[in-house]
Symmetry: D3
Subunit: 235 residues, 6 copies
């Protein structure tokens, strides 16, 4: 269930607020990651990509140290080099933001490789180097300590929790300045189409409101409003 | 006990830091809303207005859904259209910021209607649309999910908690970049006058400190300092 | 074990991310203050200075009020005037950010006196006046209430906790946009030298990555990379 | 939609674990009060009764003091005397357990009056006097301070939150040693009947398991197991 | 301001619920330790004693280890041997209960020495050995790790925080099954006398309520009730 | 690296307090599960067994419901039937105790199968049925909702977090009334032997203290004490 180019383009035009509303209508209530905040400058892009997952457990003194990354099969290092172009690296750091699970070097490498973004419910470090990157980065906090201080990477591409939401590899992650929503892969196309439609309506509503209209009968619309809206669209 | 124009003007000139200090002298220790942060761009106005309150409880699956807003007597919708000009909508969201209790459309409508601001100890959504608004907006977090995901509006104009502080309808809310303080309605005029006086002294102190003076005997003042200050004012 | 000018200059060139990594190699895992965030505008300086400590306990109604600061031997007032030039005032506010432990007047005075910064795991107030200061200021939150609302200053220059880390008077505090790290005084010189070395390598790595290199064998380096790096440096 | 005697008797025979499972099948996920724990000795009764609600906001220094209870129309005092026989007093204390919302005298009075129980997501005091009572008492903590230290009673019989769950007056509360579940009033009869059925099956399953059976095909049952179970019942 | 024998005897007869109410009338709202729970079997004594304080900061790897206790001047070891007979050891563990600040050996030693109790807002270990002791023990949690895992003892007999309350050496600590209240030393005699008086009234009220009386006019009393109560006492 | 019978017997004689101290000397600081409490009656056995792990992520509406357990390969159901005799089922429930990850039927089945215990950092349900079991059960809370309300089982026998500690399949879990410690498998034999030795010394110390000895020079011991202790043992 790959993320198609059309759906990706549609999702670039909609907000996470709209997506969570559409997903609610599909019966999903727990699809927004609580905690991770956008760390880039305001002009960074909207993030859209399929989830590539990385799981951490707490570190243990005899296993986790600066030397561990010399192991080329270390999951964190593999994640940075193997997360596909156009995909989002989603990190389960158990919501423990005392240490970072990425810094400016790793995120610059991901940007170079064409990854679509990174989301961690733990921390990231080197904010001065991360904020100007074009690749969208979300984390629960900015913090200096390296990952091994509190975290140990153990798995790639397994189902995880991130910010309290379930994330399965391949789920579609969309991030804007409100945060990150995860769309179950099998409904991503349908949700994208519905969200564009809702977004179009809300843009029209916002203009109406700016023009002085009351929200009563407008948001949500009554039949007269819908007729007027659809008439407008025809013009 | 309406908020008079004179008091409103005085309160626009003072900081919440000063107001909490003045209220402490009146015996009030729990008048600052812990949690809600200002979400507007830095050039937005100081917020001053009487509280118009809205209370939420947790949502229930059979009662709360996207369709609920079609009900024109729904408390949230009524709040947006009925919060008086010059008043602040204060929202008791039980400090649960997993869902928003307002977004760009509703806040634009409030701005159009001349409301003085919105404070929620829950979340708001659509930050990209909210940050540029002139109407001051305070919330505990930015989050994408719509209110009905976790909240159900049940009451207007009852006493509430917001950010751990008690808020009675008509209490005067003042917000700057430090956050929001709530002044019991019956002492608003007196507090405003005292705060302006204290603010004036502190502005003078700050100039003294910038000129190299020690805070000893200055802040708080001893008698010599007070004499010098009052002499200065006469000039 | 004073903080020497050379070490101070070296520490101004390195990040807290690098310092926590170097300290980890020395066996220290709990040297980053969790909670305090930088509150200045982005162009403020890196903070480097020896810790001068101030300890608070919860306030008590009969002891703590606005009048308490008239006492010239009050520990908070003394801290502002006695924290040495080039030193950092580190405040143990028990992580309780409901009240501020400093505002624009006190911090302006510290800037005038040439102090190197202030770190509190409680709050600060008057952010509009603090953000533009050149003196680095870190706190767990911005909040309006004055210190005596929840805090009572009791001690100067004793070992404290700040943001969950142990801080002994004289320990070296370094703060950048990631936050604040505390270096045990007796290893500050050695850590500074090692950090500069690591920072230099990481700067080179970042250029390599920007040039398209994989992190495999580069970060951390294998022998070939190290040889290449040291060759580069000779040039 | 009164709680009928038959439904009350059925609910006395089932566990809250079973009830939450039955409610889940009806689409309800947020019906268990997170926080309140049973404080009685183990031999106290199961609690079953319709909710009579009491709402608190944070106290304010000029309104809340020991003298406030002299007012005979004070909501807390009215709650104790007006909560109907057979009903459960459910208290919204905003999850703030720093003060109690009931003590041994008030709970003894409720026991005398024939109330069915008390649940608070705040604290209760005088545990030595409460634990031996026959009336079931649930609270988030045991704590000595009186309610007015942190709470102010403002409303009776409005929809509230208790332990994160929505509670409407008349909803049916059932409490055992696991805690308290709230059943929406309009489905209480149906849920009670279904729960008794499920409980009967689970009792049979437990005997099977004690006899050495695997849970595979048993819990949940496959067709052969169901046939065997229904055969058993006929005997 | 020593704790006299008469006051000690009076305080043994009153509850912490009554004491917090009496202290509230003296203007004190923050005198109950939030967090520490009684860990003894139910038949242990009421705890009454003057506070002897011990302060911890977070441990540091180079300073805190199993060997540290070999130092005979180590503050924790000194506290166990120097806490006076009849005094309560009050421990500021910053509310961090991940490690214990006492175990069965140390508490047995304190019992042997005639200390009046121990209160910690951190943890204790060896609950199987502690629960049967006669000396009252309060802690925020039971946990196995030794103190040095997360704590470092730094001070004796300084003002501290315990469970969010301020505690000065010599303040009078009273603990029952609700928890621990701290009475400022200079009002202990007066508070004790008032509490006994209130307790006597409440015992009478409880009998009235058990006899079927309404709380209206009884608790709090109106004039007729007070007359009846005082009449009763004369008999 | 199986858990041998000798080591198992030794570990049954020692406390978790002693084990954490021994593990600290081996360099391990994060081996105690913070959160899970013992739920059995006090006479239940000490828990000793190798870890068999089960991992949960948050539930998703389209995947998790009562019907999911009909799938015989469901990880939770497999865990109950496949956790080896003598092993401890260790559950990573992300510290979210809003729902149970086991109840009386499943735990009775594990008892029947000869499992050594269950530890969850989430909740368990049916405490009335669990408390009397002989199989030791630890959880962060008692709660009624079934697992699928908030949890989705995804993995067996992978490294997990439980109560903030890292747990690898095969690690040795020991639980007493203080809680549960996890011993890395490769040092279990050595740690067991050392713990028995330390426990023996502490039992002797406790007798000394009960006899009136000071802890100075005794705990920790000086050379004279050690000589006396070793002499005693020879007798």
């Amino acid at each position: 269930m790959a993320l198609g180019g059309t759906t990706r383009q549609l999702l670039k035009q909609v907000s996470t607020a709209t997506l969570t509303s559409v997903l609610f209508k599909h019966g999903f209530r727990n699809v927004f990651m609580q905690g991770p905040k956008r760390l880039n400058h305001d002009d960074a892009e909207v993030m859209v990509g399929a989830a590539y997952t990385l799981r951490y457990i707490p570190s243990r003194e005899d296993l986790n140290g600066p030397g561990e990354f010399a192991n080329r099969s270390h999951p964190q290092r593999r994640a940075i080099e193997e997360c596909p172009q156009g995909a989002v690296l989603v990190v389960d750091g158990r919501g423990d933001a005392r240490a970072g699970t990425g810094g400016d070097i790793l995120l610059t490498r991901m940007e170079q490789r064409g990854c679509a973004g990174m989301v961690s419910d733990s921390g990231v470090r080197d904010i001065a180097g991360i904020a100007p990157l074009r690749i969208p980065v979300y984390a629960a906090a900015v913090t200096a300590p390296a990952s091994f201080t509190h975290h140990c990477a153990v798995d790639l591409q397994v189902p995880i929790a991130c910010g309290g939401a379930p994330v399965y590899p391949g789920d579609v992650c969309v991030g804007d300045r409100d945060g990150v929503v995860v769309i179950p892969a099998h409904i991503a196309d349908e949700v994208a189409a519905q969200a564009v439609e809702q977004e179009r309506y809300e843009a029209w509503v916002l203009e109406e409101v700016r023009g002085g209209k009351s929200i009563v009968g407008l948001y949500p619309p009554d039949e007269a409003t819908l007729a007027r809206y659809h008439g407008t669209k025809r013009d």
